[in-house]
């Protein structure tokens, strides 16, 4: 059998070199980030159970570094790999069509699917600002370490802050709307019998997740949290 590639170069053409490999990494890391968001939102919603409950939860997390740090490390690795594959694939894509179309139709691709790179980058900017705001307190106007309830309610009495958080959650909804469907394709778990259910389910997860996150700043601003 004549092969178009030598055996050695075939061996060397490792997993991550191919676009399919990079997309698989992206799908797994995206899924890890999504699962973490589920935990995160469950933490946030405890604000509705009162000052003591959410502060106790925060104190519990900080008192168990053996749980906090492994999770943080997994998240950092996941986000670095997620962004690395996203950027490499994007650079490749630009190179792969050196002369663009003068006219280009669109046969049904959603806005969400066409803007994953940009919704992703906006999320990255948000994540950095959010860490400086609520984790380190660097850009918080009245940060009290350990008093999560105060840090949240103080920040979310400012309408511009609430607007920024809600905007970021709209972008998260967009990213997950397509991402939660696309990962089933990337990992090859898709089956046409389920596709008609996967797409609406992904959309529902995306919207519910982003809405639950956005609920906290909105509720604080509206005066529902005391």
């Amino acid at each position: 059998m004549k092969s178009t590639m030598s055996v050695t170069s075939r061996r060397l053409a490792s997993f991550y070199q191919t676009a399919v490999g990079k997309k698989a990494v992206m799908a797994v890391t995206g899924l890890i980030l999504f699962l973490w968001l589920v935990l995160h939102v469950l933490g946030n919603l405890q604000i509705f159970l009162g000052r003591d409950q959410i502060n106790r939860y925060s104190a519990f997390l900080h008192a168990t570094p053996e749980a906090l740090w492994p999770v943080r490390i997994i998240l950092i690795v996941a986000i670095v790999l997620h962004i690395n594959s996203a950027v490499l694939l994007y650079l490749q894509k630009v190179k792969n069509r050196p002369i663009g179309y003068t006219k280009k139709g669109n046969r049904g691709a959603t806005v969400m699917s066409r803007t994953m790179m940009w919704s992703g980058f906006a999320l990255l900017v948000f994540i950095i600002l959010h860490l400086l705001h609520m984790t380190t307190g660097t850009i918080h106007k009245d940060f009290i370490a350990g008093d999560v309830f105060h840090n949240l309610t103080f920040a979310f009495h400012q309408p511009t802050v609430v607007a920024l958080y809600v905007l970021a959650m709209a972008l998260l909804a967009m990213h997950l709307y397509h991402g939660l469907y696309s990962f089933t394709q990337s990992l090859g778990v898709s089956n046409p019998r389920h596709t008609s259910r996967i797409k609406p389910l992904a959309a529902a997860f995306a919207i519910v997740m982003a809405s639950l996150f956005a609920l906290v700043p909105i509720a604080v601003l509206a005066g529902f949290v005391h």
């Binding site: 075939r10 191919t18 490999g21 046969r107 898709s190």
Partner: protein, 252 residues
Amino acid sequence: MKSFKLILNVWRQKSGNADGKFVRYEVPDVSEHMSFLEMLDVLNEALIGRGEQPVAFDHDCREGICGMCGFMINGDAHGPLPGTTVCQLHMRHFHDGQELWLEPWRARAFPVVRDLMVNRSAFDRVIAAGGFVSVNTGGVPDGNTLPIGKLDADRAMDAAACIGCGACVAMCPNSAAALFTGAKISHLGLLPQGQPERNTRAERMVTQMHAEGFGHCTSTGECEAVCPKHIKLEVIARMNADFLRAKLRSRD
């Protein structure tokens, strides 16, 4: 018989290395019964009559089965009609005075040969990398000795309908050949004859696809929407699954 006028902006490019540009032509008497390629034949007759170079475009069967034809019409691969090659696209779908932009498939892996004609030998190399089953010839096996489930046979046939036209690559925002390669991998991988080489096939074809300069799949569904043979996105999921499985199980 209704006839009407069309305005065409056609991409003209002398060779792969030359710069290209759009040239405007009027086709005064287009019959609604013509196919799109017959309409271009009429334009070319006029161009030859005027001593100009005719517009180069690929074609062979003109009945939608060979996969030679194809270019963009107003940004749609094979034109606006779903499930149709440009040779089977009839002029009744256009109207008097309409202005159309004809462009070649645009992808690094499909360099322009001339005008609307591109070189798709990258597809041949993807096939050569693993899109086959190796058999030892000998006596003809008896019919139906290999049991194949009806559903698998149907799905393999659906995937085998791919004619290699390249519209999926052209329409994809990332110039991916995932639908084409996925169709071949599904076609062979669904049949018992395709099992022995299933893992190496996926590994080699995906690797070759990448080496040829085809992009990644972002599941936008643009390829499925323009494929003249209605190849389904599920073939891409199958290609991904086979590739990942092969990488996990590989013993080299």
